[in-house]
């Protein structure tokens, strides 16, 4: 892994500059960012004016379920650890959208191509930090990556990924049942992290369509194919068998006729025409 990134939710002030930066840097539709800030409120928070802001984005998982859900191989795990989409291969089917436990993907309605965070691949390879990290005014987002530019190793960083505030804890965004190995880390006050886990637990399971395909269709289509192959083989076998039977019968008949004609040369026998009994399909 060549990059590390962490978001401290207790530092976030909810200004949403990260969303705007993402739209600008990636030239996106203003309504469609690739990272988001959710406002988490407990019942009495409204009265106290105490809101927890939860910035989130693609976790660039070690074992990404979205890549697993993509039928064409358009979604892939790049060598540097990023989870990316090959736009030329994406058919916009959206099977990966419900597969993501973090709801970090969507299909752009205008291009019909999947949109997701690339950790600003293009900016980083040109020596710039990802836009949303660079723009954060509260220092909630920290980023570190070593990249090779023109044969030189360059460190691109925003803040210090390892400098945790006093009293803050660090966690991975997982649950006992859902753990795709997110490479991002969250930090913050324990009660804020607990709220994040309570209000936005990672969603497992993926889509029914994908499950149906994997469990039902493959086997169903396969079984149908095998069944029709067997039916075919059976029909051909029976057909051949019947042909042989007919041949044998005809040969026997011819032999019989020959004997009969030899026996009674003077009185010619009446031939009984044999009906060809091939059935049609």
């Amino acid at each position: 892994m060549s990059f590390e990134f962490r978001i401290d939710i207790s530092r976030c002030i909810g200004c949403r500059a990260c969303e705007v930066a993402c739209v600008t840097a990636n030239d996106l539709d203003p309504t469609a960012s690739r990272n988001w800030v959710k406002f988490l409120e407990q019942e009495d928070d409204v009265v106290r004016g105490n809101t927890t802001f939860a910035p989130y984005l693609c976790q660039h998982c070690e074992d990404p379920p979205c890549v697993d859900a993509c039928p064409t191989g358009a979604s892939f795990k790049a060598e540097d650890g990023r989870v990316l989409v090959d736009e030329d291969l994406c058919i916009g089917c959206g099977l990966c959208v419900p597969a993501c436990p973090y709801d970090a993907r969507y299909v752009a309605p205008d291009t019909n191509i999947l949109q997701k965070c690339t950790l600003c691949e293009g900016r980083v390879s040109n020596g710039l930090a990802p836009a949303c990290f660079e723009v954060c005014p509260a220092g909630a987002r920290t980023f570190y990556e070593v990249v090779e530019i023109d044969g030189e190793e360059r460190v691109i960083s925003v803040g210090d990924v390892n400098a945790i505030d006093e009293g803050h804890e660090v966690m991975s965004w997982t649950s006992p049942t859902v753990n795709p190995g997110p490479t991002m880390r969250f930090s913050g006050l324990p009660e804020d992290l607990a709220l994040l886990n309570e209000k936005m637990p990672p969603q497992g399971g993926g889509s029914e369509t994908a499950m149906f395909w994997r469990n039902g269709i493959g086997k169903g289509v396969g079984a149908l194919g095998v069944a029709s192959a067997f039916a075919m083989a059976g029909m051909i076998g029976l057909g051949k068998l019947r042909e042989r039977k007919e041949k044998v019968a005809l040969a026997a008949l011819a032999e019989q006729e020959e004997q009969e004609t030899q026996a009674e040369i003077d009185s010619p026998t009446e031939d009984s025409p044999t009906e060809e009994g091939d059935a049609d399909v």
């Binding site: 916009g92 959206g94 299909v107 289509v221 194919g225 051909i236």
Partner: protein, 426 residues
């Protein structure tokens, strides 16, 4: 094929599948197989894949990567659906309506499905009379008809894009299920047609169009009663019916206006002078003599660039060609003009006719195969020598040594080849 030959044929054979139906059938079959085989390779994810991994790898590398494969699959699919829809819409002979009518299930079909398995065991079991298609063929036809519509519609919707929601996800599944069903039925269809000898006449009728009346009487009694061999033939074999109708109406009009006989051929020496003047005008007006092969090489470059732009751009020969434009290339218009001028000239000389020029010693397919081979050879050579015969004719006018050597070689080679192949053209 002349009219009398047609009459003779129809006395011995019934026409089951006119040429339009056969062309659509085989186009449908070829496209479907291609799309099936390429589609399997597109689903490369191990969780979904329906084909073996080695197959997916082979097909992907065969098409130069998954991106190309996906694009080709989509383009061929669009072509396939367009042709299939057009074949139903542009149908001057009402064949598609007849086809649809022939697929309607009847009471006899239900009885047939009951009796058919028994006949497999006891061939003497009587089967109810069947129409143009028996119940099994009808079932396959209906599955294919509905399947093609569903596959085409879901494929087009995927290509257009439906936003990645539940509907989009369902489309992929619907596409796959429809293909699976059609393929299952296709296996049976293929076995019946190709492997079971008793059904051979049905296959032949889809290749040649004709069907043995005896076979029809036995297998499609109902249809046979409607189309007795005696009397009017069901449908004369309409080879190239549509282009013929167009050509025929135009030529008939011209022939009516003029005498029926085509005009005499012009004086070759006068024609030569005319050609020389054309070359001269080319130099004066364009700064070029005439050419032809440049158009085809550019056509090739631009067609290939539609599919694989990076490959063409990186090619040392094609790359620069791409920058020079296709529609603003003078030869594109010159070649179009040659076709148009030839047409008009033939029209006025009353020589307009649809046919394949060949000697009596060889068959049409041999003639076409030889022409294809010769064309490839010439095309290859023109890129080596930077031009075809007409280019070197223009260059010879500029006293280019290479072009004079070329023309000399053409004459020597032409005489030698004419000597060797004169029998072919008798």
């Amino acid at each position: 094929m002349s009219e009398t030959q047609l009459q003779e044929q129809s006395e011995e054979h019934l026409v089951k599948h006119p040429v339009q139906q056969r062309v659509v059938h085989w186009f449908n079959a070829a496209s479907f197989l291609f799309l099936w085989l390429s589609g399997i390779a597109i689903i490369s994810n191990s969780g979904y894949q329906v084909g073996p991994t080695w197959y997916i790898n082979v097909v992907n590398s065969l098409f130069g990567g998954a991106t190309n494969l996906l694009h080709i699959h989509v383009y061929v699919g669009i072509l396939w659906i367009s042709v299939m829809v057009l074949s139903f819409l542009l149908d001057p002979h009402g064949l598609s309506l007849r086809f649809l009518r022939d697929l309607i299930p009847t009471r006899n079909d239900m009885l047939w499905f009951k009796a058919r398995p028994k006949a497999e065991i006891d061939p003497s079991t009587p089967l109810p009379d069947q129409g143009a298609y028996n119940a099994g063929q009808k079932a396959f036809g209906i599955v294919v008809l509905v399947g093609v519509a569903v596959i085409g519609a879901s494929g087009l919707l995927m290509w257009i894009g439906t936003g990645g929601g539940g509907f989009s996800r369902a489309l992929v599944l619907i596409h796959l299920i429809a293909v699976g069903l059609v393929i299952t039925f296709f296996f049976v269809h293929f076995a019946m047609a190709a492997l079971i000898t008793a059904e051979r006449p049905a296959l032949v009728s889809m290749v040649k169009g004709d069907i043995d009346p005896e076979y029809v009487e036995h297998h499609h009694a109902e249809w046979y009663r409607d189309h007795p061999v005696e009397g009017e033939p069901l449908q004369p074999d309409q080879r190239f019916a549509l282009p013929r109708a167009v050509y025929g109406s135009v030529t008939r009009l011209i022939l009516k206006m003029n005498n029926a006989k085509p005009k005499k051929l012009g004086n070759p020496y006068l024609t030569g002078i005319g050609l020389g003047l054309t070359v001269l005008f080319g130099f004066v007006l364009l700064g070029h003599g005439p050419g032809a092969s440049g158009f085809f090489s550019r056509l090739g470059a631009y067609s290939l660039a539609e599919v694989a732009p990076d490959h063409v751009a990186s090619n040392a020969y094609w790359g620069p060609v791409l920058d020079r434009g296709f529609w603003d290339y003078w030869l594109t218009w010159a070649v179009g003009g040659i076709a148009l001028g030839g047409f008009i000239s033939a029209l006025f000389a009353r020589r307009l006719n649809l046919g394949i020029d060949k000697g009596s010693m060889i068959s049409r397919s041999t003639r076409l195969a030889i022409a294809l081979g010769g064309g490839i050879g010439v095309g290859f050579a023109t890129r080596i020598t930077r031009g075809c015969t007409s280019h070197h004719l223009s260059e010879a006018a500029l006293l280019s040594l290479g072009s004079w050597v070329f023309l000399g070689a053409v004459f020597v080679g032409g005489f030698a080849a004419a000597f060797m192949f004169k029998k072919v053209w008798r």
